[in-house]
């Protein structure tokens, strides 16, 4: 008997909190976000036809983690280079543990926040916290979304750019119109 085709395909990336982990899947006409506790699964669907924008914002969480882990490795590991008492061996072992974390964090790359916007919600994609993965996912989603919505023509975009709202002059208070 022929095997039924899979309805959902897993996307790279996994986000986790204390209570659940989150993954993304692509379906035929929607993106599915699954938050799983192990006992239950909660689903959020983002239909390709409804996705208005996907935004990525670079964050410094990864760099901050690298600084913290690097400093910890240095503080715990340097004494072990000069002495070999049992205490320093223990400290070096702990430093090794942190060094592995540092290596993993460097290998995973820069961090980011990814959000999907539809007409009714802005949803943070917890599973896309690494820039490389987020970009890979974005590249996989773009053809699916444009397949459902069509391409955004450059002429359309240029028209919008031409009609950009003017920002208020710097330093001046906002003006509230008297007419209603």
């Amino acid at each position: 008997m022929a095997k039924a085709p899979k309805e959902y395909r897993k996307l790279p990336g996994r986000g986790a909190t204390l209570t659940h982990y989150v993954r993304l899947y692509t379906g035929a006409d929607h993106l599915l976000q699954v938050a799983s506790t192990g006992f239950t699964e909660s689903y959020k669907r983002f239909y390709y036809r409804d996705i208005q924008a996907i935004t990525l914002r670079k964050t410094y969480v990864g760099k901050a983690a690298n600084a913290f882990l690097g400093a910890t490795v240095a503080v715990l590991g340097v004494p072990a280079l000069f002495t070999s008492t049992p205490v320093t061996i223990v400290l070096a072992s702990i430093a090794g543990f942190f060094a592995m974390g540092l290596g993993a964090n460097i290998a995973l790359g820069a961090t980011c926040v990814c959000q999907i916007r539809t007409a009714v919600q802005h949803e943070k994609m917890a599973s896309l916290s690494r820039l490389r993965r987020a970009r890979r996912v974005l590249e996989r989603l773009k053809p699916l979304i444009t397949g459902a919505q069509g391409e955004l023509s450059s002429a359309h975009l240029e028209g919008i750019v031409g009609n950009e709202p003017k920002t208020p002059a710097e330093g001046l208070p906002p003006v509230i119109s008297a007419t209603s």
Partner: protein, 199 residues
Amino acid sequence: MTTNGSAILCPSCFTPLPPSQFNNDKFVPCPTCQANVQVAVFPAAFRAITPGQSGERILIAGESSCFYHDQKKAVVPCDSCGRFLCALCDVDLGGKHLCPQCLDTGRQKGSFKQLETRRVVYDNAALIIALTPMVLIIFWGFTLVTAPLAILLGVISFFKPNSILGVSRLKAHAAIIIALFQIVVWVLMFMGVLESLVT
């Protein structure tokens, strides 16, 4: 109401981003907060949201009316119960025309997969319950309770819908086998204790 491009907000300061930042395929600093932002915008952002239909009033005597609104003209029958529906009551769900009643009943029964927002994954739960006391060895004694529970959940998983992702029943089988092994160990232990008491 329409959405225009300038309403795409910076994810950091929530001020509207200028359209010149859209679809650049690289990070551009937000003019307000200087956060590095990359925005992929799609046509839905500029699409007008179509207003809902309210249903036409019956003007000619003898025209079929909506089951729920007898003053409104029927436009389509419900694909589930066959009742005539006006444009207001017609709910389009995956190409099917349904009445609000059938939609609600179907949602409660779990007939419409696309409306489900939560599921209990019995096979996964069974495996976690079977494995946790084994992995955390100090809780091995709990297997006296967890093993039958894991078998029960494993068996339930064969009759209930599991994950929407359509994974195999391998976890349920594994949970049942592990739990049976734990029960066998308990039985052997009890038999050993009984034998030592008899002798």
